[in-house]
Each structure stands twice: as structure tokens, then as C-alpha cells.
């Protein structure tokens, strides 16, 4: 395939991000950029702070220090729903679908931010509200078609096998027509065939919709294959940043993956450090 993709301007810039939970340092002074239309792989051993990084980007965690510049606007604090409205969508390592709803409804929720009619119109379900609903249904159907999940359109997602659930979750993120798509281990727990499918979808998304993608993935082969650029984290620090080939030969990366002893105490938190969300 001849690629004519143009990596564009900086879409997201992270500067000196530090984040800690109760004294445990999850990220220390991490800086990197995500450019328009690129696929950025974020890799690192368990506990490297990869998921925390994504959580910082979409506003789920608020960094203790550092700046985040997205689409030219530097922000301090942002709620996840604001991030969504600004075009950041994501999927989760542990599938976070709405179990009580069908595939179609799950995907339709991705359109929610784009729907305007208020509840009075909705209660009537006439005229503009219905028209709006149908327009967005069509948009959702395009994603269903894109991801080849027609056959499970009206199946409650709870009944779907794991691989398909992951695909539905991707669909939910895609229907929001994001500018930046964050994928947290999109291929975890998949078999080879499912992984290949997922790779194809990720590449197609990037290709067809021009969506910028930042993804975390354990499968090194996959990351190296599909990423334009790779950032390597280890113990909450960035240890490498560059093209897959550069990263592959970087001594620090090799050490990190081989488990060469570090001067940082090894009691850093697990990758998906619990978010202390003070809600009973």
C-alpha cells in the first residue's frame, strides 16, 4: 500500500507531566507530543504509567504538575466530558461498555454530544427530534458497517464475546468522530485473528477518517508495526521517543524490557493505579 498520509501539526503537547497517588509517583516529568494524523504507540513494562498517561490526557486524572496543550489551548484542569466534547475519545483496557444496552445503543451514546434537541422535543419524538435521531442512527450505522458488526447490531453487549465487545467499544469511541483517539490496550486478550482484525481497523480509522491515535499496547510486534512513532515509559519516566526502528535499538528500552535493575525504587504502583475517586 502506498501511504500518502501527511503527519500534521502538533495536536497535543504534554510538558513535564507529573502525577502521584498518595506519595507514589506514577508519572514524573513526562513530555511528548502527538501530531495530527499520526499513530503514536505508548509502550513500557507493567507499572510504567501508561494508563495513567491516557487518564491524564482525557482529564480523568489531574496532573500535579505540568501543562497540557491541546489544539493550541493550554489547560490546567478538565473534566473527562469536556475532553470528549473537544474531540478526545478513548477505549479502556477493561472493557467499559454499557452492559444493559445493545450494540447499537452503545454506539449511539457516542453521538450524544452531537445531539442538540432538548428533552421536550425528545418526549414528543416528532419532527426535529426524530429527524435528529435518525441522522445520528445513520452515522452510527456507518460505524457499524465500518467495523463489520452488522450481525450483532441489536444484541445486548453483555452477551457478546470479548473480542466483539472490544470492537463495539472502539465503535462507540469512533462515532464521536474524535480528533484524538486514545486506545488502552485495544488488543489485550485477543487471539491472533482478532488482533489482525483490530490492527486493520486501527489503521483504517487512521487512514479513512484521518484520526490521530495514541495507543497503549503490550504486544510489541503490533505496536512496532502500526505506529508511526513510539514513546517508551518506564517507572513513570519517558525513556525513549522516536520511530519504531529507533526505539527498537535504544539501549534504555532494551534494558527496561530485560528488567535491568534501576535506581528508582521498584515500589511504583501498578499500571492502572486506582483512581482515588472519593465516592461511596
Amino acid at each position: 500500500m502506498i501511504s500518502n498520509k501527511h503527519i500534521g501539526e502538533v495536536l497535543l503537547k504534554l510538558e513535564d507531566i507529573s502525577l502521584s497517588f498518595g506519595g507514589v509517583q506514577a508519572l514524573s516529568n513526562v513530555s511528548f507530543e502527538v501530531r495530527e494524523h499520526e499513530i503514536l504507540g505508548i509502550i513500557g513494562p507493567n507499572g510504567a504509567g501508561k494508563s495513567s498517561m491516557l487518564n491524564v490526557i482525557n482529564g480523568f486524572y489531574h496532573p500535579d504538575e505540568g501543562r497540557i496543550t491541546y489544539k493550541g489551548t493550554t489547560r490546567k484542569d478538565m473534566r473527562p466530558h469536556e475532553a470528549a466534547r473537544q474531540g478526545i475519545a478513548r477505549t479502556f483496557q477493561n472493557i467499559a461498555l454499557f452492559k444493559g444496552m445493545t450494540t447499537l445503543d452503545n454506539i449511539m451514546t457516542g453521538r450524544n454530544t452531537k445531539m442538540r434537541r432538548n428533552f421536550l422535543w425528545q418526549a414528543l419524538y416528532l419532527g426535529p427530534a426524530r429527524k435528529e435521531e435518525m441522522e445520528h442512527r445513520e452515522a452510527a450505522e456507518r460505524i457499524i458497517d465500518f467495523l463489520e458488526i452488522e450481525a450483532i447490531r441489536k444484541t445486548p453487549v453483555g452477551r457478546l464475546p470479548y473480542g466483539l465487545q472490544k470492537r463495539v467499544e472502539l465503535g462507540r469511541a469512533l462515532t464521536a468522530e474524535p480528533d484524538l483517539l486514545l486506545l488502552d490496550e485495544p488488543m489485550a486478550g485477543m487471539n491472533l485473528e482478532e488482533k489482525e482484525d483490530m490492527c486493520r481497523f486501527i489503521l483504517d480509522v487512521n487512514d479513512e477518517f484521518g484520526t490521530t491515535i495514541a495507543l497503549i499496547e503490550h504486544d510489541m510486534g503490533v505496536v512496532m508495526d502500526i505506529s508511526d512513532r513510539v514513546v517508551v515509559l518506564d517507572y513513570g519516566r519517558k525513556i525513549a521517543d522516536g520511530s519504531p526502528d529507533e526505539v527498537r535499538t535504544n539501549q534504555d528500552v532494551i534494558d527496561a524490557y530485560l528488567g535491568v535493575p534501576h535506581d528508582i525504587p521498584p515500589d511504583t504502583p501498578p499500571d492502572d493505579t486506582p483512581h482515588a475517586n472519593p465516592q461511596p
Partner: protein
């Protein structure tokens, strides 16, 4: 065998056809064999002309539907004309010329159907290809047909064409429907379907008379389509059909079966197959009914249920699969439902077919059948999507009589037909009310059928193809000088004038002593038992018929479980005495069936054995399409054959097998041989 004309028989039917809601009577005609002209409707002698006509007459009625983006996106005849017009103009602008070939590759999609008609508008010839062929197989068809254009569904097909493009020097332009994944294909000869239509619309605006003028140039003698038959041996042959071939045959059959514009049909069989072309294009255009394209291969059953077709075609294999799933699902039902199902299916077996054919049925049975319709048959047909079926065909190979009866007893008018690409499908068809499971009916309207002295079925019809494309030898071999077409099948007419096909003509042999030996016929009869997966019959130039049998591991395994038989492998199961007893019963039943036909009574099976391993394509015993390679097997298992024709009651054998991973090993077995009594032949 005497020449048998189907004409007089059917001439009795006076069928009037009413076109459209205007109530305009086009023509009520007798079914007569016509040579070339579609008499009385000469202005509608090509598909493009029919389209023009339909777009006026049936303007806002649905013409084609496709399940896309979750709903049945429907195009009316008027819209279809618009689409085709834009497409034809686009193709013309791109350089498609009269006589050019245009390959069409993909799943059943409206766009692809439209492109076939668009090509015909310009006098070009569509060549549909099997969408699941690998590039190598496709290369032959594209190269041989000298296709200059190709319209394909999506990236997958584009990739195949790009792979073979160098070997197909004539192939110039490729149009694709689905732009998914095509973003980075920059080749100038690749065109998006939508872009092409846009281009066509511009062209049309500049040349407003072009389109109609091109259509007007077409006549019934023009080549309508080239369909490549997937030959079992050798290279595929391109069957060249004229509009007259296609349209006259399609019309005759449509009138015979009283198809109207109210039919619903699901287009799900390969577009390269003649049946799809006749049902989903030709008859849709002549009768004006709507064709629906399923969403994807995975959703066909569901789509079938949604559409609920009135006119349906499926090869026996599909009916068989559906029946199997029905039975499996019923097995899991509650005791009450299962018994109810069985009870009412027994009622249906007794009375269903008679009720369907309008014969007299005892009042009690009629009553029970009525209750059964509410409780079982209706819901069952509904879940299968067969509720509305008025006419269903099956053809291609023999269908098991149990399977056939099952559907008919439910009240589904399932009929067998016998046909060929070279005849535009129709050679014989079962008339309503005269349906038998083991015949393929009487000659279709306009078709004459006779049996040659060698026992080969031959026919003559308006549908008889023009010639094999660029293959005069094959044409000459198939068609006699006086226009009779050889089918290559052996058969005979029964006392009611119904044709019975028994085997490929070249495979039919003789048992020593003169009785006809039709191995495939016997094998099929054996295979109709669910317990028997494969069978190989021997008997040509021998004293009696003997058979190898492969049990069906699933069905027999299930049976064994119910009878508390433990087994660890196919081989162990196959060697069980109880299994032999089971198969013995089957063989005896086959013999009783054979005994009923005077011609075949002498070929009853005397000895058989159950093979110690499953016949396998990897071992060369089956073709890739799972047909038994009788000669090869005979050679490979000479020991066993010798034993069958000797008097041993068992035989030891050692065979090489290929495992799934490609490695080989040997399987040893000591096979029992079963002796079966033969039934007396009928007095006739």
C-alpha cells in the same frame, strides 16, 4: 428411448398475464416453443428496454433493495433507471464500447446488478465472476473473456485484479463500489463507482440523446451475457447467451409459474451463477418484482427471515442444512414441545403434501393439519423466513426425499427443477400438484427433451446458448447439428412423463448381465441417510454392486451416545457391530428403493463395508468440492475391493493418511464386510 415433447402437455395451460396496476393486458399466449423472437413483445427484447418500460409502468414500485446501514434501502424502478443511466453514460465516457466485456465481481449488490444492465445498454457484455475465487482462478476468466472493464465490490476484489492485471493485458479500467480502504490507491485506472456516476451524469447532460439511442440499437439477437461454468475438469467455459435466450426462457417460466410484480426475492447466490441471473435479474425485469440483497454473508438467514420471500431458490445443501438446524434446535426444546412437534410433523407427513397438491384428505387429518399450522408449521415457517413462499425451487443435485418431503409437508411449494447454464436454467420443472421427490419434473415451457439411445438426456429450447466463448470444439461437442443439446446426464422418463436423472452419462456403466449401474444414484440414495456421510459404489463390469461407506461421525456418534456405546475414535466407532447393524438397515432400505425401478433393480447392493477412515480431500480421495474420486479410491483400496468381490467376511488394510498439519501416518484396520439380501424386482 422415445423423444418426449413437453410441449403438448403444458400447452393446455392457458395463462394470462396482467402487467402492472394499469390492468393493461400485454399478451395472453400459449406456451409454444419459440425459436428466437420473444413474440409479440419485440419492443422489449433486451433488458435495457425492459428497464425503460418498467421505469414508466412500475415507476414507484420497488425494484431492488439492499440491507445497508441497518435498513432495507430501497430503489424504485425509476431510481434504478437513473442509476443505470448515470452509470452507462459514465462507462461510455470512460471508453466502454459495443462488444466490450465488463467483468463484474462481488457479493450481490445493487450497484453490481446495475452495472451489468448499464453495460448492456451500451451493447457491451457483462461477465460476472465468482466473488470468492482466488486471483489465479479469476485470471483465467478475465483473460479469456478479454474483459476491458471491471466493476467490483470493494478493496478485496480490487487487490485480486491488481494482482493479475499484468496477465490480463486487455483489462483497462476498474470501478469499485465500496471506497473503504481505497484511500491510498492512486492508480489512474481505478474509479469510484460514485465518481463514475457523477461523470456519467455530466456526460448525459452534454449528450442527452446518447443513452436512449444506445439502448435502441440493441436487439434480441445481441449477446446478453457470458457466464463461465466452473467445469469439474479442465478450464471453465464461457457460455454465451443472447437476450432472446435469456428473456424468452425467463418469460416462459415466469408465466408458467405465474410470477407477478408482487413477488419478493432474496438475491444471495453468487452473481456468476446462471440461476441468480435469471431469478434476480431477468425475471425481476420481465415480471417487475423486487429483489433484495442481504447485508452480508453472516446475516443471510436473518435477512431471509426479514424479507420473507415469496419466490425462493436454494440448492439442496442449503435446505438440508436448514433442516438439520431445525432438528437440532427442536432436540433442545422441552419435552412437551418436542412431542407436539413430532406429532404434528407426523400429521404433516401424512397429509401435508396432499393438501398442498389439492388432493383429497380425510377430514380428521385436515383438521389436525389446521391445528398443526397454528402450533407448528406456521411458526416454523416463520422462524425460517418461509412464511410467504409461493414458489421455491431446488436444483443442482439430487435432494433427499426426506428433506424434500419435510418442506412440502409444511405447505411450502418446493419444486425441483433440472437445468443448465447452457439452457438458461430451465430444462425440466415440476408442475404444481405433480411433484415427486425423485424426479425433476416435465419439460419446461418451450423445451423439448429426449433421451438418446445411450441414455443421455438431450433437449432443445429457446434458451439453448449461442456458443462457448472462443471454444468452438466444446460447442460442437455439446450441441448437435440439428440444435439438440447434450446434457451429459443419464436419465429416463417414468410412467408419468417425469424425467429422472440418475448419474453423469459417462459414469453410468453396466453390471455383468446387462443391468444399468448408476453409481452416483446409489451413492446419493445411501447418503440421504443422516448416518452415512460418504459412499462409493462399485459395479461397472462386475457381477454385482458393492459399496464403501463412511459413517457420519456426528450423527452416528450421537446415536451411539443415546445407545450407550463408548468409542474413542472414528475407526473404533465404525467397527462396532451395532453400527454395522444400523448401516445394514440403511443399505436394505436403499435396495428396496432400487428394486422399484425396473431399470435399476439389478444394481442392488450385495456387499458393503464401513471404511476405517474418513475419505479426505487431503488424501486425494475427494475433490476439493467433496466429490468422491471413484477411480482413485478403487485403485487405492484394491485390497478391499477384492475382498468385497471375494467371499471373505473381513479384510485387513493399512492406509496412509495426511493429518491436518500436513504430516502423514498410517491407519490400520480389520474391516468387516456386510452381506445384504436383495429385494425382488417388480413384476414389470
Amino acid at each position: 428411448m422415445q423423444l418426449f415433447g413437453g410441449v403438448n402437455d403444458n400447452g393446455r395451460r392457458q395463462v394470462r398475464r396482467f402487467f402492472g396496476r394499469t390492468g393493461l393486458t400485454r399478451r395472453g399466449h400459449e406456451h409454444q416453443p419459440r425459436s428466437t423472437s420473444p413474440g409479440g413483445a419485440s419492443e422489449l427484447d433486451t433488458l435495457p428496454k425492459l428497464l425503460l418500460d418498467n421505469s414508466k409502468r412500475l415507476a414507484d414500485r420497488p425494484a431492488i433493495r439492499e440491507k445497508d446501514y441497518g435498513i432495507w434501502q430501497t430503489s424504485t424502478w425509476r431510481q434504478v433507471l437513473d442509476e443505470v443511466r448515470a452509470l452507462a453514460c459514465g462507462l461510455a465516457d470512460l471508453g466502454l464500447e459495443r462488444g466490450d466485456k465488463l467483468a463484474v465481481i462481488g457479493d450481490n449488490r445493487p450497484q453490481l446488478y446495475w452495472s451489468m444492465v448499464a453495460a448492456q445498454c451500451l451493447g457491451a457484455v457483462p461477465v460476472p465472476c465468482y466473488q470468492d475465487s482466488v486471483a489465479k482462478e479469476m485470471r483465467f476468466v478475465i483473460a479469456h473473456s478479454e474483459a476491458r472493464f471491471a466493476v467490483v465490490e470493494d478493496q478485496e476484489q480490487v487487490d485480486k485484479l491488481l494482482e493479475i492485471k499484468e496477465d490480463c493485458p486487455k483489462l483497462r479500467e476498474i470501478v469499485y463500489g465500496d471506497a473503504r480502504g481505497m484511500r491510498n490507491y492512486t492508480q489512474p485506472f481505478l474509479h469510484r463507482f460514485a465518481d463514475l456516476q457523477e461523470r456519467g451524469r455530466r456526460f448525459d447532460a452534454e449528450n442527452p440523446d446518447f443513452f436512449l439511442a444506445e439502448i435502441a440499437k440493441g436487439t434480441g439477437d445481441d449477446i446478453a451475457i457470458i457466464l463461465y461454468t466452473s467445469g469439474t475438469t479442465g478450464q471453465p467455459k464461457g457460455v454465451v447467451l443472447s437476450f432472446d435466450n435469456v428473456l424468452v426462457t425467463a418469460r416462459n417460466a415466469a408465466e408458467y409459474e405465474r410470477l407477478t410484480e408482487n413477488e419478493e426475492e432474496l438475491a444471495y447466490l453468487p452473481m456468476a451463477w446462471v440461476g441468480d441471473y435469471v431469478y434476480s435479474v431477468a425475471q425481476s425485469y420481465t415480471s417487475g418484482f423486487c429483489v433484495s440483497c442481504p447485508e452480508s454473508g453472516a446475516t443471510v438467514m436473518n435477512d431471509l427471515r426479514e424479507i420473507g420471500p415469496t419466490y425462493f431458490f436454494a440448492p439442496p445443501r442449503i435446505f438440508e442444512n436448514i433442516l438439520t438446524t431445525v432438528m437440532i434446535r427442536i432436540e433442545d426444546a422441552s419435552w412437551l414441545k418436542r412431542n407436539m412437534f413430532e406429532y404434528f410433523m407426523a400429521v404433516a407427513k401424512r397429509a401435508g403434501a396432499d393438501i398442498l397438491d389439492g388432493r383429497r384428505v380425510p377430514l380428521l387429518d385436515r383438521l389436525l393439519y389446521g391445528i398443526g399450522s397454528v402450533l407448528v408449521y406456521g411458526p416454523l415457517k416463520n422462524t425460517l423466513g418461509f412464511s410467504r413462499i409461493r414458489l421455491a425451487y431446488t436444483a443442482g443435485e439430487a435432494i433427499g426425499s426426506d428433506i424434500f418431503d419435510f418442506y412440502r409437508s409444511l405447505g411450502i411449494n418446493l419444486k425441483q427443477l433440472y437445468g443448465q447454464t447452457e439452457a438458461v436454467v430451465y430444462v425440466t420443472v415440476q408442475p404444481d400438484g405433480e411433484v415427486k421427490p425423485d424426479t425433476v419434473g416435465v419439460p419446461a415451457p418451450g423445451v423439448e427433451v429426449r433421451i438418446s439411445d445411450a441414455g443421455e438426456v438431450m433437449y432443445k429450447s429457446p434458451g439453448v446458448f449461442q456458443h462457448y466463448y472462443k471454444n468452438p470444439e466444446a460447442t460442437a461437442a455439446a450441441k448437435t447439428e440439428d440444435g439438440w443439446m447434450r446434457t451429459g446426464d443419464a436419465g429416463f422418463f417414468d410412467q408419468d412423463g417425469h424425467l429422472k436423472i440418475i448419474d453423469r452419462a459417462k459414469d453410468v456403466g453396466r453390471i455383468n448381465g446387462g443391468t444399468m449401474f448408476a453409481p452416483k444414484y446409489i451413492e446419493n440414495k445411501l447418503k440421504f441417510f443422516p448416518y452415512i456421510k460418504e459412499a462409493v459404489a462399485f459395479g461397472d463390469k462386475r457381477d454385482y454392486t458393492a459399496a464403501f461407506i463412511n459413517i457420519d461421525l456426528g450423527a452416528v456418534g450421537n446415536w451411539a451416545e443415546r445407545h450407550h456405546l463408548a468409542y474413542a475414535s472414528y475407526q473404533e466407532l465404525a467397527a462396532k457391530k451395532e453400527v454395522y447393524d444400523l448401516i445394514h438397515g440403511c443399505v436394505e432400505q436403499v435396495n428396496r428403493g432400487l428394486a422399484k425401478d425396473p431399470q435399476l433393480a439389478g444394481s442392488q447392493i450385495k456387499r458393503y463395508l464401513i471404511l476405517h477412515k474418513e475419505l479426505d480431500a487431503d488424501d486425494g480421495e475427494l475433490t476439493r468440492t467433496r466429490k468422491v474420486r471413484r477411480g482413485f479410491i478403487a485403485e487405492k483400496y484394491t485390497v478391499l475391493i477384492d475382498a468385497l468381490y471375494g467371499d471373505a467376511d473381513h479384510c485387513e488394510v493399512e492406509t496412509q493418511v495426511t493429518f491436518e498439519d500436513g504430516s502423514t501416518g498410517t491407519v490400520k484396520g480389520d474391516l468387516k464386510i456386510g452381506d445384504v439380501g436383495v429385494s425382488p424386482a417388480p413384476a414389470a
